[in-house]
């Protein structure tokens, strides 16, 4: 039945854009009102389906940016040759409707707020989106799990959720590394994530630490391999790859 989501089944539903917010150049958060949304876990994604007037259909997956219990939101980075992201980041307005389905994925999910095991989050570019959901979930549940977020971005203006990330304390450490351009007087880290950087920043491998790594494919491959070299068991390194775009 059109417009009716059966709980437990993945069906397309119409969501209304509640608000849009620019996060960084070519990056926009889209807050949705989705009456049939059954709720989600931190780290999951959803599919967006756009249908053109001539019937052409394009589907893309986007990580959910909001925490469980919050209204569904996605954060989308515009890809220059993209079919869907230019529309979502430039054309879409509050009140517009899009089709979504989800939540999707049970693998790249953090639902361990009750445990004391430290959490390592590593983001390349817009790979920070599902990790932001995890951070918000941690805060909303009053979890005391120690978290380190290592976030690799091209430059400071490219950092998504910067104000929010700067506001985290109490067991959350956010470490930026800027790969291409640093502002004058930058005292933070510079360059791509390396074994040496992870040796300093990652929790010791023995602490039952779980790592979540998300970003462009090359970033994820490199960081995940480094963590395994540092002694992290592969099953405790959860990965999600966004593809070759969005170099960090």
């Amino acid at each position: 039945m059109a417009g009716t989501a059966v709980r437990g089944r993945l069906t397309w539903q119409v969501a209304t854009v509640e608000a849009v917010r620019d996060e960084a150049p070519a990056v926009r958060t889209i807050e949705l009102r989705a009456p049939d949304w059954a709720g989600h876990q931190a780290g999951q994604h959803l599919d967006v389906r756009l249908t053109a007037e001539d019937g052409y259909v394009a589907e893309r997956s986007y990580s959910i940016a909001s925490a469980p219990g919050e209204p569904v939101a996605i954060t989308v980075e515009r890809l220059e040759d993209g079919e869907v992201s230019p529309y979502l980041t430039e054309e879409l307005r509050a009140g517009d409707e899009i089709e979504i389905r989800g939540p999707i994925g049970g693998y790249f999910v953090w639902d361990d707020s009750a445990s004391g095991s430290p959490l390592l989050l590593a983001a390349g570019g817009s790979g920070v989106v599902p990790l932001r959901s995890i951070l918000r979930h941690r805060a909303r549940t009053g979890s005391t799990v120690p978290v380190r977020l290592l976030y690799s971005a091209r430059s400071l203006p490219d950092v998504i959720y910067r104000t929010e990330l700067d506001g985290y304390h109490d067991g959350v450490e956010v470490i930026f590394t800027l790969t291409r351009q640093q502002p004058p007087g930058w005292t933070g880290r510079i360059g791509r994530v390396s074994d040496a950087m992870l040796t300093e920043i990652a929790w010791p491998a023995g602490d039952a630490t779980t790592a979540f790594v998300c970003g462009p494919t090359a970033f994820v491959e490199s960081v995940a391999a480094s963590l395994v070299r540092l002694g992290y068991p592969p099953p405790r390194v959860k990965t999600e790859r966004f593809g070759g775009m969005g170099e960090t």
């Binding site: 089944r9 997956s61 389905r101 989800g102 999707i104 494919t217 994820v220 990965t239 999600e240 775009m245």
Partner: protein, 85 residues
């Protein structure tokens, strides 16, 4: 072509199998490696999707959308077991 991973076909596989398959364990028929479907190498090339083994690069799965349905070739998988509910 973009190299993604099994997370990217979570929706497609759930549409076909009816449950989340990113946490399912797949076993490569070529090399015997096994691991979560989320970790396989995925190429999206609509209407077809190809999944390859991260260890030996053998084709594990091909999914082609046809109208309302999908054609699924699983010859490259020795086993595909959903995670216990």
């Amino acid at each position: 072509m973009d190299e993604l991973d099994g997370n990217a076909i979570g929706g497609l596989l759930e549409e076909i199998f009816g449950v989340d398959m990113t946490t399912a364990t797949g076993t490569c028929a070529s090399c015997g490696a096994s691991g979560p479907v989320a970790e396989v190498v995925v190429y999206l090339c609509a209407p077809g999707t190809v999944a390859r083994c991260r260890v030996c690069t053998a084709v594990l799965m091909v999914v082609v959308r046809r109208g309302e349905g999908s054609c699924v070739d699983l010859r490259g998988m020795a086993a595909l077991a959903p995670a216990p509910a």
